[in-house]
């Protein structure tokens, strides 16, 4: 008895070393590629530096003040909000409808689910190319629309270019979000609907009183994904509009890219990125506070 106990203790000590050994690569890697860049990013955001010259002048918070006074920062902010206002409701309504439809069927459910998910696996560059051509002034969509006597300047009108980008991003993520909704729907016990049915509750009331509240975790996760995505759009405007027309599709990441890698203002770009991260964190925080509910059934 005593012997096995000392053996156990000794064994536990060995596994402590083994455990540390197994996580060591992760720790070392994280220090080099995560912690170190993180701190460096903070430091250079207080400096004026153009990457090439060895001179790094400490300028306090002037980079941050410059960000706040940069008209392109506010244009990007406005464009991001516009994107969100179009994207978030549209993608949530569409994917919820698809999920509700998918839940009703058994036969071919997996077929439809993967069919809708197909768009999710398209590469950013590839689908940007495709939609740029499809939605171009004389593209197929406008050729078809012209039969109805209308043409839409999807990417060439500054008023709607950002909305058009939002629409193609909806195309990409609709299937992905519907599957999250579907998983949420399937976790709602059917007994709730059955007892509501017996009590003569209408489908409409069931939807608002049972489905929507119990889908709260799915709504939460999709909202957070969608908001984070809105702050990170780059490939689509870079490929399709290049930020135009009239800066209507400039985004935060495009600005960061431009400031750092074209204009070589690394310090300024870094402060820009930090401000953007803080804004996106605040958005996520506010959404969590507003939407998140504890559910129990």
């Amino acid at each position: 008895m005593k012997k096995s106990k000392t053996f156990k203790i000794q064994e536990r000590r060995i596994y402590r070393y083994v455990g540390c050994g197994l996580v060591a690569p992760y720790i070392i890697y994280t220090i080099i590629f995560w912690v170190y860049p993180f701190i460096w990013g903070l430091i250079i955001s207080f400096k004026k530096w153009n990457i090439i010259s060895p001179e790094k002048e400490f300028i306090g918070i002037s980079n941050f003040l410059k960000v706040i006074h940069d008209p392109l920062f506010w244009i990007s902010f406005k464009n991001t909000l516009f994107f969100m206002i179009v994207y978030v409701p549209m993608v949530i309504i569409c994917s919820l409808v698809v999920a509700l439809l998918l839940r009703r069927i058994k036969f071919l459910q997996a077929f439809f689910a993967s069919g809708y998910l197909m768009s999710y696996v398209s590469a950013g560059v590839a689908y940007s190319i495709v939609f740029n051509l499809l939605f171009s002034g004389d593209g197929l969509i406008n050729v078809w629309l012209s039969n109805l006597g209308i043409t839409i300047p999807w990417f060439s009108s500054p008023k709607i270019a950002m909305a058009s980008i939002a629409i193609i991003v909806v195309w990409k993520y609709l299937g992905y979000y519907s599957l999250i909704f579907l998983a949420g729907l399937q976790s709602i016990p059917t007994s709730l609907y059955e007892s509501a049915e017996i009590d003569g509750v209408s489908n409409w009331t069931q939807f608002w009183r049972i489905t929507v509240p119990l889908l709260n975790p799915a709504f939460m996760i999709i909202l957070i994904f969608a908001v984070m995505l809105s702050f990170n759009i780059f490939t689509e405007p870079y490929m399709i509009t290049g930020g135009g027309p009239l800066d209507s599709t400039q985004t935060f990441v495009m600005q960061i890219y431009h400031q750092t890698f074209t204009a070589l203002h690394a310090g300024y770009g870094s402060s820009f990125a930090i401000v953007v991260a803080i804004i996106s964190f605040s958005f996520v925080f506010v959404i969590r506070k507003m939407v998140e509910r504890d559910i129990s059934y």
Partner: protein
Amino acid sequence: MIIQNMFNKKQSELSGLVITYAFLGFGLIFMVFPYVWMLLASFKIPAEIYNRFLPTQFTLEHYRMLFSLGATGSTNPFVRSIFNSLVVSSIATISVVFFGAITGYALARIVFPGRTLLNNFILFQMLFPTVLFLIPRFLLMLELGWINTFQGMFSPFMISAWAIFLFTQFFKTVPQELIDAARLDGCSELKIVFKIMLPLSKSVTIIVAIFTFMGMWDEFLWYLIVTKDYNLMPLSVLLGLFTRGEYSSYPGIQTAGATLLTLPILVLFFVFRKFFTEGISMTGLKG
């Protein structure tokens, strides 16, 4: 009377089902349409790309052009770029699975000092947007001299907090008896991870691998920043740059390139579609 009611109910249920399928099918056409158009356009003659959906004649000209047009200083950057994409994506995928598994195993099954702290740190890490790391990581690559190298492209993606998190969650469910028995047999801990834990968590392993591979294959911004040499560029960046540059007025070549970029992932998707849907439902339930 009751039978009549039941019959009516059955009938309305049936018509409801028909409507459901009709809507789903109609929506599916919209979802698949861009793919079909892309594939068809890549074989169309230029005059038919914009204004006809179905082609009257097929041509392989765009693919031929894509593979033969040489950029400055190289004869065939597109063939090379496919190879580059494959190398970079594969290395990152193997690394993410390997380190994800061993770290996840330690975090799930071994008691060691700092374990809870690390578990929390991994969750904390996932909250940070990549945009925050773009510039300092680029500077790190400059410092290491890794601009325009393969390691420059994949090094920031070699260990993923998300993968570690998934592995940790799944490894918690493996019965302790199996681990104890393997240890009694003299198995090393690494052997336990790769001979017992991974085979028992096949679906998570596949999910981590395919999502990582897809993410690396599609990655654009990071490659755009760290590669300057056409011969080293992955397909996504090379196609992106050529579409904005030399090929901007050649929609046929653009769609041929887009098809090339899409096809491998699409094949992966069709082979592993069950794991794609499973992986997404998992993120949804994680809450």
